[in-house]
C-alpha cells in the first residue's frame, strides 16, 4: 500500500472501528483511540511532505490500479503542489478537532469521533484522486458524515441547516456528475483527469463543462450568491464541524477549480473570468460589509470565510503566477485561521453557551491566556504581516494589481473591512470592563485547550514568518497550470 492510500485509509479504518466497537460507557477509551488514529494519520502524511520533490509539476506518490473495469475507472492517486498542502492541512486539522472535542462531546462519542476520522480520510481522498469517479465518490461521500455531524450534535435549528447543507451541495455535485460522464464519453471512455487535461473541446462544450463544474465548486467554496447556506450551517454545526467545514471542506471547491475547471476548459475559463472576478469581488467587499453587522460570532466568522475565499477565487481567475499561488496560500492560511477562530468561539461557547457578541465583554480580564491566542488569530484574520493571513492576501492583491489596477484596488479595500469587523469583534468580546456575571465566572483555558490553540498558533506563525516551503512546493505546479491554461484547446 502506498503512502497516499495509507493517508486515506488509516483514518477511515480507525473511524469505522470506533463506530463498530465504541459505546458511551467507554468514552475514555474511545477518545484515546480517536486521538491515536488522528495522530497516526497525520504521521502518515508527514513523509509526503519530506519526500516531496519540489520543482516538478508531475504527480508524485502515484498509485494506480484498475477498479471498475466496466467503466474503465481506476484507483488512481497522486499529489502535486496543489494537493500536497491540502492533504497535510486535513490530517493536521483532524488532530486538532479530536483534541477540541475531548471533554465537550459526551454523547455518542464514538460516532462523533468516527465521523470526523472518516471525513478526514474522505477529504484526503478528494485531494489525492486522479480519476474522475474516484474524485466524485470521495467528494460526495463527505456529505454523509458532515450531514450527521451537523444533525446530531448541532444547535437548535440543526435539522434545517443539515438539510440545507446537504441539498445545496448535492445539487451542484450532481450537475458535475453529468459533466464527468460527458467527459468520459468525449475522451473515448476514460475517467483519467490528467488525460482530460489534454482533451480538445469545442467552445460550447467548454462552456457547458465550465458551468457544470461551477455549479459544484462555487456552491462548495462558497461564492456569492450561492453562499447563503454557509452562515446557517456554521451557526448550527458543533464546533468541530464548523472548524472542519471552514478549514477544509470549503477548499474542496477551490481545489476543484484548479483541477477541473481551469485546465479542462481553459478557453471558457478565460471567457468567463470576468464573471468569476466580479463574483469574487462581491464576496470580498459586499460580504465583508455583511460580516461587519453580525451579532453572532459564528455568523461573523462564517461571512468572513466567504470573503476570504473570495480572495482565493479572485487569485485563480486573474491568471498570473502571483494570483494563483496567492490563492493557494490563502487556502492554507484560511484553513489554519478560520479553524482557529471557530475553535476559539467553541471555547467561549462551552463556558457561556452563547455566541452573541453582546453577551460578552472584558473576557481578557478573566481569560488572559485565551485572549492572547484570540488576539493572534484575530490579527491573522485581518492579514497582519507576520501571520499566515498576510501572505496569501498580499500575493493575490499584488497579482490583481498586475492584471488590472482597479481590481487590485477593489480587492485591497477588503483588508480594511476585514480589519474592521475582526477588530471590532475582538474589542466587543475581549476588551473593556467585564460585561456581566457570566464573564466574571469564566475560567481560563485548560491544558487541553492550550495545546489545541498552540498547535494552530504555531502553524499560523510559521506560515506567516517563513512561507517559503509552502510556495516552493507549489511553484512548479502553478507555472505548469498557467502554461497549460494559456494555450487554447479549441479544436
Amino acid at each position: 500500500m502506498g503512502l497516499l492510500s495509507l493517508a486515506i485509509w488509516v483514518p477511515i479504518a480507525f473511524g469505522t472501528a470506533l463506530l463498530a466497537f465504541g459505546r458511551d460507557e467507554n468514552a475514555r477509551g474511545v477518545r484515546w483511540v480517536a486521538l491515536i488514529g488522528a495522530i497516526a494519520s497525520f504521521l502518515v502524511t508527514v513523509p509526503l511532505f519530506t519526500g516531496f520533490q519540489n520543482g516538478t509539476a508531475a504527480m508524485q506518490f502515484v498509485e494506480k490500479a484498475s477498479w471498475i473495469t466496466r467503466f474503465n475507472v481506476s484507483y488512481h492517486l497522486g499529489i502535486d503542489g496543489f494537493s500536497l498542502w491540502m492533504v497535510l492541512l486535513t490530517s493536521f486539522i483532524t488532530v486538532v478537532v479530536v483534541i477540541s472535542a475531548w471533554e465537550v462531546i459526551t454523547e455518542r462519542v464514538n460516532q462523533y469521533m468516527g465521523a470526523f476520522l472518516i471525513l478526514s480520510g474522505l477529504m484526503i481522498g478528494v485531494f489525492a484522486a486522479l480519476d474522475g469517479i474516484l474524485f466524485y465518490v470521495f467528494f460526495e461521500a463527505t456529505l454523509i458524515p458532515m450531514y450527521l455531524i451537523i444533525g446530531i450534535w448541532g444547535g437548535p435549528n440543526k435539522i434545517y441547516a443539515a438539510f440545507k447543507f446537504f441539498l445545496y451541495t448535492l445539487l451542484g455535485s450532481l450537475l458535475m456528475l453529468v459533466a464527468l460522464i460527458y467527459l468520459y464519453n468525449t475522451s473515448g471512455g476514460s475517467f483519467d483527469i490528467l488525460g482530460w487535461h489534454k482533451l480538445k473541446l469545442g467552445s460550447t462544450a467548454q462552456t457547458f463543462l465550465f458551468f457544470a463544474f461551477f455549479a459544484a465548486f462555487a456552491v462548495k467554496v462558497p461564492m456569492w450568491p450561492v453562499h447563503t447556506w454557509l452562515p446557517d450551517v456554521h451557526v448550527e454545526a458543533p464546533t468541530g464541524g464548523s472548524a472542519v467545514l471552514a478549514a477544509i471542506m470549503l477548499k474542496l471547491g477551490a481545489y476543484g477549480f484548479l483541477r477541473f475547471s481551469m485546465p479542462i476548459a481553459p478557453d471558457a475559463s478565460h471567457e468567463w473570468a470576468w464573471l468569476m472576478i466580479a463574483l469574487s469581488l462581491i464576496a470580498v467587499i459586499y460580504v465583508g460589509l455583511v460580516a461587519l453587522v453580525q451579532q453572532d460570532m459564528k455568523k461573523l466568522v462564517a461571512y468572513s470565510s466567504v470573503a476570504h475565499m473570495g480572495f482565493v477565487t479572485l487569485g485563480f481567475f486573474i491568471f498570473n503566477e502571483l494570483g494563483v499561488s496567492g490563492g493557494i496560500v490563502q487556502m492554507i492560511a484560511h484553513g489554519f485561521v478560520s479553524g482557529a477562530m471557530f475553535l476559539g468561539i467553541g471555547v467561549l461557547y462551552d463556558r457561556v453557551h452563547s455566541r452573541q457578541i453582546a453577551d460578552y465583554g472584558g473576557v481578557v480580564n478573566t481569560m488572559p491566556k485565551f485572549a492572547a491566542f484570540a488576539l493572534l488569530f484575530a490579527m491573522a484574520n485581518c492579514g497582519l504581516p507576520g501571520t499566515a493571513g498576510f501572505v496569501g492576501e498580499w500575493m493575490v492583491i499584488l497579482g490583481a494589481v498586475k492584471a488590472n489596477f482597479w481590481i487590485g484596488l477593489a480587492a485591497a479595500t477588503a483588508l480594511i473591512f476585514g480589519a474592521a469587523y475582526t477588530l471590532w469583534m475582538y474589542k466587543r468580546v475581549y476588551l473593556g470592563p467585564v460585561g456581566n456575571d457570566h464573564v466574571k465566572e469564566l475560567s481560563d483555558i485548560n491544558a487541553r485547550e492550550f495545546l489545541m490553540l498552540s498547535l494552530l498558533a504555531i502553524a499560523v506563525l510559521w506560515m506567516g514568518l517563513y512561507p517559503k516551503p509552502f510556495t516552493d512546493a507549489m511553484d512548479a505546479s502553478v507555472v505548469e497550470l498557467l502554461r497549460h491554461v494559456a494555450v487554447s484547446k479549441l479544436p
Binding site: 463506530l19 467503466f71 456529505l143 450527521l148
Partner: protein, 495 residues
C-alpha cells in the same frame, strides 16, 4: 421437440415444483406455531435452487428447450438466482413478523411464495409469449393470495382486492397486446416474432397498436406511472412481510419479461417502445418523487420511491437503440439490469428494518416510528441509513453506480434529448434525496419515543447485517456485479 437438453434447461424449476408439493404435504403434519420444519425445508430447497441456477448461469451457456418454448441463458439464470436469494432473505426477515400475526397457522406463506417463485422462473425463462403470460399469472395469483393472507385484517383484504382487480386488468392489457402480436405475426415464439417483424412484411400500425397494450400491461406490473395507482395502496395495505415479497424478487422477473418481450421479441419496434418508456419514465420520476415527499407512512413512502426508482430503471432501457443502431444496447440494458438487482438488494434491507421494528400489535410503519433508532440500536439504524443513502444515489453505496450506469447510457447515446433526460433525472434524484434524508434525520436527529432496544433473532440479525454490508461493499467494488450484468446481457442479445 423434447430432448435431453430440454430437461437440463428446466432443472431448477422441476426441483422447485417437486419440493413445493412435498413441503405442502410435510406441512400438514406440522403443528408448530412457527412452522420451523417447513421453514427450514423451504430455505434448504431455495438454497439448492439458488446454487443450481447460479451454476447454470456461471456456465454461460444458452439452452433452448421444448422446441424453443423455454430458454436458459445467463441473464435468466442470474435473475433466477438473485430472485431465489431475495426470496430466502424475505422469508428470514418475514417469519418472526408473520408468526406474531398468526400468518403461519398454515404453511401457506412458504408454499405459496415458492409457487410465486416458480411463476417468476417461468416468466424469466419463457421464450414464448404464452408461456411468459402463464408465468406472470402464476406469480400474480400467488401474490393476490399472499396479500390476503391475514384474512381477518380489513386493510389487507382491501389491498388484496385492489391488487386483484387492477392486476387482472393489467393482465388483460398484456394478453390483448400479445394476441394482437400473434394476429399480426402469426407466431407466439419470441425469436420467430422478432424475425417476422424484422423482415418488415407486417403492417407497422397493427404492431404499434399491439405494442401500446403490451407496454401498458408491463408498466402496470412494474408500477410505472401513470399505471402506478395500486402500488402505494398495496404496499401499505399488505402485511409488511408480503409487501417485501411482492416488492423485491418479482421486480427481477418483471425486468426479465421486459427484456424478453420488448428487446428479444420486439427490438425492431424499439423506436416506438423507447418513446413510450421515456414518457413512462418521466411520469414515474415526477409522480414518485413528488408524491413521496408528502408521505408520513414509511411503507407508502417507499412505494412511491419504488415508482421513482422504476422510472430511473426504465431510462436505461430508453437509451438502447440510437438511430436504429444497437451499439449502445448492451450498455443500456446491462445498466438497467444492474439497477434492478441493486434496487432489490436495497429494498430487502429497508423493509427488513421495518419488519424488525414491527412488534406484536404495533406495525411501526410511520416514519416517525423510527425516531431515535440510532440510540436504540446503532447497527439497525446504520443499515437503514445505508439503504436510504443508496436509494438516494450517494457514493460510496451501490445505488450510486446504478444511477451512474444509467446516466452514462443516456449520455453515451449522444442525443441531445437523452442528455436532457439525464439532467432531468439528476434533478429528480435531488428531490428524491430529500425524503430519503428525512428518514435518516428521524433516526439520527430525533429523540426516541421509547428507550427499549431492538432485539432480533440471530438469523435475522446476521442476514440483515450482511445485507447492509453488501450495499456498502458492492459500492466500493461494484466492478464484479457490473461485469456480470454486462456479460449476461451480451449473451442474451447475441441470440
Amino acid at each position: 421437440m423434447i430432448d435431453k437438453l430440454s430437461w437440463v434447461a428446466i432443472y431448477p424449476e422441476i426441483v422447485l415444483l417437486v419440493m413445493a408439493c412435498i413441503i405442502a404435504l410435510v406441512d400438514l403434519s406440522t403443528t408448530s406455531a412457527r412452522r420451523t420444519r417447513t421453514y427450514v425445508l423451504t430455505l434448504l430447497t431455495l438454497a439448492v435452487v439458488a446454487v443450481l441456477t447460479g451454476l447454470a448461469a456461471n456456465d454461460g451457456k444458452t439452452i433452448y428447450g421444448f422446441g424453443g418454448m423455454v430458454v436458459s441463458d445467463p441473464m435468466g439464470n442470474w435473475l433466477k438466482c438473485f430472485a431465489t436469494v431475495a426470496l430466502m432473505v424475505t422469508l428470514v426477515y418475514g417469519r418472526p413478523y408473520a408468526a406474531d400475526r398468526a400468518m403461519l397457522r398454515g404453511g401457506e406463506l412458504f408454499t405459496i411464495s415458492m409457487f410465486a417463485l416458480l411463476g417468476m422462473f417461468v416468466m424469466i425463462s419463457g421464450s414464448n409469449f404464452l408461456l411468459i403470460y402463464l408465468g406472470l399469472e402464476l406469480l400474480t395469483l400467488s401474490s393476490y393470495a399472499l396479500v390476503a393472507l391475514r384474512r381477518d385484517h380489513a386493510v389487507a383484504s382491501e389491498a388484496a382486492m385492489k391488487y386483484f382487480v387492477l392486476g387482472a386488468m393489467a393482465s388483460g392489457f398484456l394478453l390483448y397486446g400479445l394476441s394482437m402480436m400473434y394476429g399480426a405475426t402469426g407466431s407466439l415464439d419470441v425469436n420467430e416474432v422478432f424475425k417476422i417483424i424484422a423482415s418488415g412484411k407486417v403492417n407497422h400500425q397493427v404492431l404499434v397498436f399491439g405494442l401500446v397494450f403490451i407496454v401498458a400491461g408491463l408498466a402496470f406490473k412494474v408500477g410505472a406511472a401513470p399505471f402506478h395507482m395500486w402500488v402505494p395502496d398495496v404496499y401499505q395495505g399488505a402485511p409488511t412481510a408480503v409487501t417485501l415479497l411482492i416488492g423485491a424478487a418479482p421486480e427481477l422477473a418483471a425486468f426479465a419479461i421486459i427484456i424478453r418481450l420488448l428487446v428479444e421479441g420486439l427490438l425492431p419496434l424499439a423506436f416506438d417502445w423507447q418513446q413510450m418508456l421515456a414518457l413512462l419514465a418521466i411520469a414515474s420520476l415526477l409522480v414518485g418523487n413528488l408524491a413521496a415527499i408528502a408521505q408520513t407512512n414509511l411503507k407508502r413512502m417507499l412505494a412511491y420511491s419504488t415508482i421513482a426508482q422504476m422510472g430511473f430503471m426504465l431510462l436505461g432501457l430508453v437509451a438502447g437503440v440510437v438511430n436504429g443502431n444497437t451499439y449502445n444496447a448492451q450498455f443500456a440494458y446491462s445498466a438497467s439490469m444492474f439497477y434492478i438487482v441493486t434496487y432489490v438488494l436495497t429494498t430487502l434491507a429497508s423493509f427488513g428494518i421495518i419488519l424488525l421494528l414491527a412488534r406484536e400489535g404495533f406495525e411501526s410503519e410511520e416514519i416517525t416510528d423510527l425516531a431515535g433508532l440510532n440510540q436504540r440500536s446503532p447497527l439497525y439504524a446504520g443499515v437503514m441509513a445505508i439503504a436510504m443513502f443508496s436509494l438516494a444515489g450517494l457514493p460510496p453505496l451501490v445505488g450510486f453506480y446504478a444511477k451512474l450506469a444509467v446516466l452514462q447510457a443516456l449520455v453515451a447515446s449522444g442525443q441531445a434529448l437523452y442528455i436532457g433526460l439525464a439532467v432531468f433525472a439528476v434533478v429528480m434524484s435531488l428531490i428524491g434525496a430529500f425524503y430519503y434524508l428525512r428518514v435518516v434525520k428521524v433516526m439520527y436527529f430525533d429523540a426516541p419515543v421509547t428507550v427499549s432496544t431492538v432485539s432480533a433473532p440471530r438469523d435475522v440479525r446476521t442476514v440483515l447485517s450482511i445485507n447492509g454490508l453488501l450495499i456498502l461493499v458492492l459500492g466500493i467494488v461494484p466492478g464484479g456485479l457490473m461485469a456480470l450484468c454486462a456479460k449476461a446481457i451480451v449473451a442474451t442479445l447475441a441470440n
